[in-house]
């Protein structure tokens, strides 16, 4: 059993995560500047990219704004710089995770701190991956601030010293079940950010925010990708429970909330296919599902006692 911990690597990991928080904040500021002042250019260029690359919907309400004055050159550069900064922060986040994993010689998502750090990483990864093919730079400020807040929360309230884990977590299932849960959660966060912006955004009014249509599209795409992954994560969890606890499903609080989350996301997909629920109502359903996801992540560990021994929170 690996009980040895490489302390200097563990410390390096903690420092890398701190630096990553700062980098995300920097990227957030640049994205915000771009959003506020670099907009006219962005809109035109992105619309063109949209038409060219994806044949996406035209955004009628924004067209009128296109005629506005050209944005300052520095604001234009802020946008590109923000993307570069986000990639650097992403690399820092990745390095923080890797060094921790190497320091303890196991998969680095076996307690709440490591789990939240990995989810923030997954959310940013999802954003950057979609950004390669889709004009969603407008989301940058919101995604990076979410990641910075998530990491900050993890560092301040969840941090535990790097170390070995409970025997229940010695299993290859951690690589399968938890990894899938992290990837799905990252994408759900992206969708959640879009859904919140969607509700803030009023149709038909000028705004620095993108149109509801594009927000909805990104949210839907993220959920469509993550829902099967989440389904798989829940099933992998059941398989692990079958190895570890002697039953594949036993309504442990975590299981209950994973199931609730799954059902409500399924309800979102159905809501989109049901007349009268499209648009706003469906987005609210997706936010309810997102709330269940977050509650499962944080609330269940705090309020209920269960079998999940990773819920290792400092008290």
């Amino acid at each position: 059993m690996p009980a040895e911990v490489n302390e200097s690597l563990a410390t390096l990991s903690d420092q890398l995560i701190l630096v990553t928080v700062l980098l995300y904040l920097g990227a957030m500021i640049c994205f915000a500047l771009d959003l506020a002042f670099g907009r006219a250019r962005t809109v035109v260029a992105e619309r063109r990219r949209q038409l060219v690359g994806a044949g996406g919907p035209a955004l009628p309400e924004e067209t009128a704004e296109d005629a506005g004055p050209q944005p300052a050159a520095w604001a234009v550069r802020a946008g590109s710089f923000a993307v570069v900064l986000t990639w650097i922060a992403w690399a820092g986040n990745l390095a923080g995770i890797l060094t921790r994993g190497i320091a303890v010689d196991r998969w680095p998502w076996a307690n709440m701190y490591e789990f939240v750090v990995a989810i923030c990483f997954a959310a940013v990864t999802a954003f950057l991956a979609l950004l390669i093919r889709q004009p969603i730079r407008f989301l940058g400020a919101f995604v990076t601030v979410t990641a910075a807040l998530g990491l900050g929360f993890a560092v301040l309230f969840l941090h535990v010293q790097a170390g070995p884990v409970m025997p229940a977590l010695h299993s290859y299932w951690i690589a399968i079940h938890v990894t899938a849960a992290i990837v799905a959660s990252g994408l759900f966060i992206l969708a959640g950010v879009c859904a919140i912006l969607y509700l803030i955004r009023r149709d038909g009014r000028p705004s620095v925010l993108p149109s509801r249509e594009s927000l909805e599209r990104v949210a839907h795409r993220a959920i469509v990708i993550s829902f099967p992954i989440w389904t798989f994560a829940v099933i992998a969890g059941a398989l692990w429970a079958d190895r570890a606890w002697g039953r594949y499903w036993g309504w442990d609080p975590k299981e209950v909330w994973a199931f609730v989350t799954w059902v409500v996301y399924a309800a979102y997909l159905h809501a989109r296919a049901t007349a009268g629920w499209r648009g706003k109502a469906a987005m609210i359903v997706s936010l309810v599902a997102f709330g269940c996801l977050l509650f499962n992540l944080v609330g269940v560990n705090i309020f209920f006692s269960g079998l999940h021994s990773y819920a290792d929170v400092p008290n």
Binding site: P60, P167, V224, P228, T231, I235, F259
Partner: protein
Amino acid sequence: MSAPDDLASAERDEAVRDEAVRDEAAAIEDARQEGTQERARPVGLGPAGWMRWTWRTLTSMRTALILLFLFALGSVPGSIYPQRGVDPSRVAQYFKDNPAQAKWLDRFWLFDVFSSPWFAAIYLLLFISLAGCVFPRALTHLKEIRRRPPAAPRNLLRLPHSEAFEGGLTLAQAAAALRRRRFRVVTGDGWVSAEKGYLRETGNLLFHIALLALLFAIGAGGLFGYRGNVLVVEGDGFSNAVAAYDRFMPGSRVTAESLEPFSFTLKDFQASYVAAGEKQGQPLDYLAKLSVQDSPTAAPRDVDLKVNDPMDVNGTLTYLIGHGYAPTFRVTDGKGQVAYDGPVPCLADDQATYTSECVIKVPDAQPTQLGFLVRFLPTTVPNGNAWVSVFPGAANPTVQVFPFGGDLGLKSGQPQSVYQLDTTNLKPLGTMSAQPTPLNVGETKELADGAGKIQFTGVKEWISLQITYDPGREPALLAAAAAVIGLVLSLTIRRRRVWVRVKDGKVTVGGLTRTEGGGAAFAEEFAQIVTALRGEPPTGDSAGADQGGGEPDGPARAGHVAPDAPTGNAAPGARPDEE
């Protein structure tokens, strides 16, 4: 191919041709999914009419949506209140702490949420709704799969994706090009019609049917399977029979004979812990060494039982789920007889130090019955006037013994917990101190009033096991895997149609995706198809897209496509066809 079907599809294509293609497409989707749900209530239709109405309402999407919400909402109390099926002792505790509230909660089955009638009502309704909506859809889909793609609409340029060009393309060439892209193709008088993406609906049906199968598998497992718990001390054995269990939970179709006849002895149990540092005392690994006989006549084999690694005997699984200390004692009574000699399982009070508590009951002791409360300290260090354990491993094991004499109350017929001493008719022997001097292994304590003596003879460990037989496991896994595959197909594949008309060297191509949200990706595919049809070799992803690049994005683009869009300039992506 039946006539009404063709009529229906002709009507649909007629509608698609309409100016408001987009709204119409949405309406078609609605009609498809909502079915006849929005129908008025049947007034005076008689029982048959009412039943039809009820069935339609039950199997509509909206009802399914509401039932899904209820399903989610209904399972929430199961995480808030302790559940009998999960942890009966916490339920008992709840009854002790809030008797009045607990009584009310129990009336609503809130301690048995997942086996309650109202929870069953929700999921049965949901699954009837599911079956009622999936099976008719499966039949329709079977017909659809065999049907040929519908004839081309008259004016292809009004479709969400369209393109016109001059060229020498023949119908046969167009059909071949589309077949190469694995479209299903039919040709008519001057047109080619192609369709693709049937797997989407197949996947969707597979998913929903897999959910039904999953429910059956879980139900069958509950009926024909069983689960039991047992505690075994080092050196002791177990053989798989109902009477050997401490707690046995059979499904209603389980008989005593259906238990797999294996047996084992626990030779040794080892736990290792982090020795130093911030995480000192955290468990690292557990290992139980068993000697197992798969059947009474089989030769014994050695098995290492670990967490996450159950032992499998012909589908009956044995899991290591807990452990603790079982110090051994020899009690000699006032008449000099050995009245007790053996291990006593203790329950850990504190996981970090494994300070444990145990109870010894000696009903055979003379002249009075004896009872002992024992505190077991695995790694003892003095702490002022007291002694504490500082580590869960047994590095310096001692026991603190609190002796009682009198009536143990075992004759009253009331069931007693082996971990509790009923002291109503017992009195302490000698003066009771909160911190009696601990005994080391081998040491003996003389009891006051000539009641005898107790010797701490050694330390063993116990393990708790769960033994499960669930014939529904594998079917449930298969169903779950099918569900994921179906889900991926249903969420990633787009159903799409492409038509080509050729007239006097003028080629028009129109395309339509019937899947919401698929528009952007289809635009790319459509552009590639057009490029291919023009006889140019496709040039990767952005091939046809370049043509749209030069298109000025004016407000006019957003609203509609002019029917006579200039040749070659109709940007493939100019028309949003997704909502």
